[in-house]
Symmetry: C2
């Protein structure tokens, strides 16, 4: 396994720690559609959801026709929670060294990061819904590769999902120290 610090999350960077995955899985997932984005290779992807939003790119969520009726009422939502399957990510890392931290080798726990490398490689993004046309939803914006499998869509309720004063301490410390933006 590569130890090259420039390795992306298909590999393992210096300082990253992996464990043995369980011998068997516990449940199964259906892919219910695909996400179309302008990003065909990993290095072109935005580093996080904020960067994705700043690009202003319109991405398209294509729902498998089997689920068409399940879209009823979605058009009344201004924002959606999108869950998608980061199918190219490794699942066995417990400590990671995000790209922006390679110089210091700072280890961060997988559950303190939004990195796609996690035991269940499910990404969650909040997107603005621009348009619904049949089974195609235009949204701003997603940070994943073109073709990424979709696993769920939900309405975003500000009453429970919006916490404007939430803090991520380790991240705030980095910003305060004027370090370059990390992968989150």
């Amino acid at each position: 396994m590569s130890k090259n610090p420039s390795e992306n999350h298909h590999g393992q960077r210096t300082g990253e720690v992996r464990i043995e995955l369980p011998e068997s899985a516990d449940a199964e997932v259906y892919f219910i559609g695909r996400i179309r984005t302008p990003w065909k290779i990993r290095k072109d992807c935005p580093r996080n959801a904020r960067q994705a939003r700043e690009t202003g790119a319109i991405c398209t969520i294509e729902i498998d026709p089997r689920w068409t009726q399940a879209l009823k009422g979605v058009e009344t939502c201004s924002h959606l929670v999108v869950l998608y399957w980061m199918d190219q990510s490794r699942r066995d890392l417990v400590l990671q060294v995000p790209g922006g931290d390679c110089a210091t080798g700072m280890q961060r726990g997988t559950f303190s990061l939004r990195s796609p490398a996690r035991p269940n490689p499910i990404a969650m993004s909040v997107v603005q819904l621009v348009k619904v046309e049949g089974t195609h939803l235009s949204v701003i914006s997603l940070d994943c590769l073109d073709g990424t499998p979709l696993i769920d869509l939900k309405p975003y309720f500000a009453s429970t999902d919006s916490i404007p004063d939430a803090e991520v301490g380790w991240h705030a410390d980095r910003v305060n120290a004027s370090l370059p933006p990390p992968e989150e």
Copy 2:
């Protein structure tokens, strides 16, 4: 299959529409822990995340020891995104009649609801982190049954996850009409 309007989501209510699930699944999930809540049976569960928060109940997320190191830094987060597997929910409903809508039989699309009945029965809640002790996280609050399997934890970033002015049109219409609170 039961057509009793009082049926819960293990069954099917009048007006609800199901489809044939795909013949095979596309990916596998590991359960990475369990959620401990005060709610042992379905009818005692809060109806949604807002009600759960209003109970003020402290719930406990128990992480499988395999993933202990992945918790590094989580204690610096004020809020977390929790993904969990609603293992008692059916997965084949595309149109649902939420409990509060039984009288009118109003059909709503699965992707416009936070109902646990969905193709991939993954619930997402934003919780306040109260305390971390080893592999046990105390949080306010979750709306699921005691023993529900955990599948992911993520830091909540207000910069991308908080949209205070987001709207769910169908839900706002209900509130404006002074209808009883629906399941979301």
